[in-house]
Amino acid sequence: MRYAYYPGCSLHASAREYDLSWRAVCEKLGIELTELPDWSCCGTAHADNVDYSLSVAMAARNLAIAAQMGLPIAAPCSGCYKTLWRSEAALRTDPALRQKINATLSRPLEGPVAVRHPLYIILEDIGLEALSAPPRPLRGLSIAPYYGCVLTRPVAEPPVDDPEDPQGLDRLLHTLGAEVVPYPAKSKCCGGAVLLSHPDVALDLTARLLTAAKRAGAQCLAVACPMCQMALDAYQQQAERQSGEHFDLPILYFTQLLGVALGLDERRLGLERLVTSPARIMAKI
């Protein structure tokens, strides 16, 4: 199991703990990661708002590096993941687009590149059976799984999960011994996309989501995207002020929870870097 690791801008900055915990989990599970040398920003939805060709070219530059490495890409940020897989699919199926984009790249993209998200790498390459008796099961923890939007939408070919009612994270957390909290917002938007341009719109969505999870009895949320994590954790106090609700819900990356269950040292998982401290709920395990 070898992957070309595409951290994306967030995992090198605001989501350092996602990077740390993903690397630690991979080391433990025997997944070999090689970071793409000299990777660049994927462009995400913002470049797509400005210039479609530029957005595809920004993704293609990275796809070409992975193609040269001869490895599938592991992209932990859902935004990068979606941008990279969709650009790859567009370039693979549209020869005219590919020719146009390749003409602008100093290293043209050759051949197909598989783009995968770590959640489904764990589920498909490692499998739940191998994780069914973890050294430190998450018993006593009620977790609301949160998928966000672009991990499962638009639907990839073949689909990784159900776009409306995804199950992958539910199954992983259940296997690790946690109580999985059902709530109606697990694939609803967190507002992360417009956090800075339309903060009041974003905070409404954030508050709606956290309210649903809290009412369902969640003690924390498990996420798989740095933008979701930022919206739900760093902006949680502002969402509390705007909505008048009280949350105090730690927002953990699924890789951090997996790392805890696998018995990894918590310092290697960056738990202390979360804004809403998970110390109180960690004591329950």
Partner: protein, 200 residues
């Protein structure tokens, strides 16, 4: 269910756009595959930000079908779309609504119609990543807030900024490529190729 009359909220003056503009803008709608839409409204029913919008996705699509492209491109609605793709996966006619919204945002920006803060944010984002190859958040925040002349908004976030700095979530040193000129050159080559083809 009877179709609601779109004229109740659509500016009648918008119907009188110059014919040449209608012709040019008509090609935008033609590329978006909106003809299949039968106005069921599942998109607007699924949209997390529809309550903030003037028209919502169903009416936007209807307006495109009617050739009312300019009011769509001038509308804030297309910038309130959060690209969650709920509409796209639920559309019974397979209209790629979220992608259509992105195409409308590009057309709106290209024609100078976009006044929304998200338009300024997207532009600032692209400037920052083309310069350094990777996102440098402090620079993006500075560029965005100064474009909005929103010093008060920036100051309102100062407390959060300090907390994130303390958590090591904001780096004050940009994470740059070995060759930061690479992406910039790539964008320049794309622009030149587009000019050669006379694209807008």
């Amino acid at each position: 269910m009877a179709l609601q009359s779109p004229t109740s909220t659509i500016d009648r003056a918008a119907l009188s756009v110059p014919p040449s503009l209608t012709g040019e803008l008509a090609t935008i709608a033609a590329g978006l595959d909106v003809a299949r839409c039968f106005q069921c409204g599942v998109c607007s029913g699924s949209c997390p930000t529809v309550t903030r919008m003037q028209y919502g996705p169903r009416r936007i699509i209807h307006m495109l079908q009617l050739g009312l492209t300019e009011p769509v491109l001038r509308s804030q609605d297309i910038w309130l779309c959060v690209s969650c793709y709920s509409c796209s996966v639920r559309c019974p006619q397979g209209v790629a609504i979220a992608d259509a919204m992105a195409a409308l945002r590009r057309a709106s920006l290209a024609r100078g119609f976009a006044k929304d803060s998200e338009a300024a944010f997207s532009r600032a984002f692209v400037q920052v990543v083309l310069r350094g190859g990777r996102l440098f958040e402090p620079e993006l925040l500075f560029r965005f807030y100064s474009s909005q002349a929103a010093v008060a908004s920036l100051l309102k976030q100062a407390g959060l900024g300090l907390r994130l700095l303390a958590k090591g979530k904001i780096s004050l040193r940009p994470d740059r490529l070995a060759d930061p000129q690479g992406l910039h050159d790539l964008a320049a080559r794309l622009r030149k190729a587009a000019e050669a083809r006379n694209e807008t």
